[in-house]
Amino acid sequence: MRCPFCGNDNIPGVELCESCGSELAGLDIPEADSGFAGRLMSDSLGDLELTPKAEVAPDATAAEAIERMRRERHGCVQVVDDGRLVGIFTERDVLARLVRTGLDPSTTPVSQVMTPGPTTLTSHDPPAFAIHRMVSQGFRHLPIVDGGELRGSISVRNLLRYIHSEILGASAG
């Protein structure tokens, strides 16, 4: 290994640098950020398969939003007002804000039952950020916004697909 003190290129496994005598034992252990753990920090969400955006206007009814979710088989739509993301409407909102409250979806505007001001990430953020947010804050979907423009969203399923194809997929064994 290359000595970090003098730069001499030693044969692997030596305990002392052959040039300057510095202690090398232990320095060639792979760091925690090598391999896939490193890629979780160095890959970009923009490289992953994202869920395409599914926009509804704030004055759309909850029923229209639900029809959109059914049609596209997405657990989430994004509420966009004049080009700006103002909220998301998710399966969890369907449960907690609509079904549980008994509101009529055909007359309730989605803006009344959405999750306003959602946490967003950018396509330059690493997958680790998305995993961290989802695990620590319980989100299933995170909108991806670049410079104010909605790109799509990343879901728990998108992340598991990435992990599956990168680690557990065809090369598993």
Binding site: A37, M69, V94, L95, V135, I167, L168
Partner: protein
Amino acid sequence: MARQIEEILKSATIRDLRLESGEAVSRSTSLGEVCEILDRRRFNAVAVCDDRRVVGIFTQRDLLFRVALERVDPDTPIGELMTPEPLTIELHQPLREAVRAMTERGFRNLPLVDSEGRWVGMVSSRNVLRYIAEHFPEAVLNLPPRLHQQLARPEGG
């Protein structure tokens, strides 16, 4: 030396996950009661059991597709709305089999059963993601909000 996340994931079994207890209901439990459980405990799904055998599952997706627009009577037995005979998983099975079912077949929740087929809990896609997060390097765990603190919290997120 810490094992690489690749090795950990490839060799892990369902037993290695820190699982939530989950909740099981019977076919006669009302839709209203099930929604109350899903909301209060922040679950994505409940198992529907008959004499401890899993006969169905009811998820937030079922709510979206069968209940949300139809405004189904909350007194309706969940047995009429559930997805029958869901794919189940056992403790000794490899984690990657659960991940495959979740990614390729789109199941976000797999009822966990013992060798006699009795319900013992639920494996969710979030459990799997959390297991992966628990093997992250320290740099990620220290991102705000602190993951360690969040992970130490009781179940329910």
